[in-house]
Symmetry: C2
Subunit: 149 residues, 2 copies
């Protein structure tokens, strides 16, 4: 099935979209009621990338409008999973800090996900993904800088 370049892009982004949706559903199935992928993602970011970022930095990291991030953070704070303190360097701003309950939440989610990962890793070779990931990172960065100028 020969494909025009335009169709190649469409197919690529279409597949990416569906995989994103399926994997999101897979994860959310294991989260406590009231929590969604964005909640998990933020906690994960605080652990893996950096603790104490501003809401705006998080919004940019996840490419969502800052008003969506406000809402996500409110949910995390309500559950005692994070704490928002004033940014000492800028009184307009806040910093987001992980609480012990937040770390436990994230660890629990990952543990609950283990069976899924085990089942899937039998069918998708991780080394295959390792080859693809750098390509995806490159594409993500191109789209990202394209968007921001």
């Amino acid at each position: 099935m020969p494909d025009s370049p335009l169709e190649t892009y469409f197919t690529f982004f279409n597949e990416v979209g569906i995989i994103g949706q399926l994997s999101r559903t897979l994860l959310e199935r294991h989260l406590p009621k009231g929590y969604l992928l964005p909640h998990f993602s933020v906690l994960n970011h605080l652990i893996r990338v950096r603790d104490g970022p501003t809401p705006l930095a998080l919004a940019r990291a996840f490419q969502v409008p800052k008003t969506s991030m406000t809402h996500t953070l409110a949910g995390l704070e309500r559950g005692g999973l994070i704490e928002m303190r004033q940014n000492p360097e800028d009184k307009r701003s806040k910093c987001v800090w992980l609480m012990p309950a937040g770390r436990a939440f994230r660890d629990d989610a990952i543990a609950a996900l283990a069976p899924d990962v085990a089942r899937i890793s039998g069918q998708i070779d991780a080394s295959r993904l390792t080859e693809i990931v750098p390509e995806l990172v490159a594409i993500r960065k191109i789209l990202d800088t394209d968007r921001n100028g």
Copy 2:
């Protein structure tokens, strides 16, 4: 940065999620007010895959709950882009048919997207994507059958 297999999966799905979001925003920027990616996707599906499917078939094709598809189709019908007729083979069911305005809508969107594609294709080689797409298709199918049993 050596990566555990678990982290490989996480990184992969994370990148996929972000690319999906960025590309979605890119497309939606060119759609008329009130229309979103799902509207475009359905029209595109009617043209590229099959005209006249049932709402349920569409919901499955896009991996969304059927109630979400009801909503999307209502939007398309309100705009005269599709028509929903009774399924002659099953009175519970309906068939979704593309209207001329629907085809025009889709063609316009693709035309409006052309500058973006041109800009991006200068940075992402389509042949690179051609290599990755089969891998993504395989992964999508695995997740899909995993989900449905």
